[in-house]
Amino acid sequence: MPSPDRRRFLSSAVLGGSAVAGATALGSLAPETAFAAPRIDLDPGARDPNFAEGRITAISGSLLKVSGSDKALHRIYVTHGTSVWKLRPTTFDEIKVGDGLYARGVKMPDGALAADAVWVNIVNMDASITAIDSGRLHLDHHGGKVVGHVVNGTTAAVYNHTPAISDLSGLQVGKHVKVIGAWRPDTNEVDIATVYAGI
């Protein structure tokens, strides 16, 4: 299905329209169905087989070759059902060699991971703001300098656990913040997705 038609179909399915005929109402979704997903029991301390992390060393077709920080090598398949996060929800072609990733999915018999979700270059860091200029936060992260880029249309701020807004004028120099963002590989720069701050 071409993309605009597909989106129209999905929108009308949820917002109401002809496509809903024949569907089960959510009320009948029994807990047994909802929780029927197979549970995986792990020994404490065992490596989670359904998780992988590392730097991407090669991309061939829909296969990512990843070198883990513990030197483990992973092969990760990305399908059309895989979610890809790189600063925002995005598509497979945004993934580049050299990116870091976290992937969650299902281990296949051949040892590769069929990914359900992939987070590319995601960072979560505590820092304090040392300076603000137009489009950038200068951050001190445990003594190291990090430049946080504000991305129009994406960067959001959460003040005191209230709903996220795009207004960043509550950020103050000297204050502590938590930043979720996408690292620019091999630099000390991140693009900011969300910054959590107190006012």
Binding site: M1, R6, R7, F9, L10, S11, A13, V14, L15, A19, V20, A21, G22, A23, T24, A25, L26, G27, L29, T33, A34, F35, A37, G81, T82, S83, V84, W85, R88, P89, D116, A117, W119, T130, A131, I132, D133, S134, G135, G143, G144, V150, N152, G153, T154, T155, A156, V158, P163, A164, I165, S166, D167, L168, S169, L171, Q172, V173, G174, T194
Partner: protein, 270 residues
């Protein structure tokens, strides 16, 4: 010619050494500061704290003879040697242990940067100038006080440890007058829709079926559409959520489970 500016240098260098030596000897977090510095790789883990304290004691002793009369050339000469030695130590730290803290004038962790070099250079140069003094600093003309203030200002400007006392308040003031990030367009950020989604009964009912993270999102008139991959009755499906775009009411969030391969809707909340 050099006598009057030289005469005040023992006071400046002595004061600086009093600050840094006192911190090394009496500071409560001296152990941590020593561990973070480049000393462990220079003298070994076990001797780092002892070396750190010894340096501090040396600095204090030198500070005492510099600040008290009479003035001997040997005192400032020793301070100049110490300053040169410290420049050497910084170079070592930068080359061998670039992640270490300089461990100089505060318990705060401060990486070695050009400011650390400039500051050490300032102290060494002041000490060198001080060797030209022939009288104790107590008897200098009033102009020496101006020079002293300028030197202290330069020392403070080059000390990242005290940025919190002057630089950050200055930046805070500038931002209070005009915030550089104030003129951004108003848009409902995705994060806000996600917060609303996670709080919604619809999401809580369906979440055990979800397999992926957020796959794609777009805006319809009053709703933001969010798609996830789900598994329902053993088949792959797409969970489509509609979250109110312009107001916060999680109970209004709607969901449909759709089989995209057959273009059929499996489940909706009505």
């Amino acid at each position: 010619m050099l006598e009057w500016p030289a005469s005040v240098q023992p006071l400046f260098v002595g004061g600086t050494l009093l600050w840094s030596g006192g911190l090394k000897v009496l500071g409560r977090s001296a152990r941590r500061a020593a561990e973070r510095s480049a000393l462990p790789s220079l003298v070994g883990e076990d001797r780092a704290l002892a070396a750190y304290r010894l340096t501090g004691a040396l600095e204090l002793a030198l500070a005492a003879v510099l600040l008290l009369p009479p003035a001997y050339v040997a005192e400032t000469a020793a301070a100049a040697v110490l300053g040169a030695g410290f420049l050497g130590y910084l170079t070592y730290a930068k080359v061998v242990a670039p992640d270490s803290s300089c461990g100089c004038l505060s318990k705060r962790r401060t990486p070695v940067t050009w400011r650390a070099f400039a500051r050490a250079g300032l102290v060494a140069a002041a000490a060198l100038l001080g060797t030209q003094a022939d009288v104790w600093w107590g008897g200098g003309p009033p102009l020496t006080a101006v020079l002293l203030v300028a030197e202290v200002a330069a020392l403070v400007a080059l000390s990242p440890e005290v940025d919190g006392l002057w630089l950050l308040p200055l930046r805070r003031l500038r931002i209070r007058m005009r915030h550089p990030l104030a003129d951004r367009s108003f848009e409902m950020p995705l994060e806000s829709s996600l917060q609303q989604l996670l709080a919604s009964p619809a999401y809580q009912q369906v979440s055990p079926l979800l397999r992926s993270g957020l796959r794609e999102t777009w805006d319809e008139e009053d709703a933001r559409i969010l798609c996830y991959t789900a598994e329902y009755d053993g088949t792959a499906a797409t969970a489509v959520f509609a979250v109110p775009l312009r107001h916060y009411s999680p109970e209004e969030v709607r969901v449909a489970l759709v089989d995209e391969s057959t273009e059929s809707t499996l489940l909706v909340n009505a």
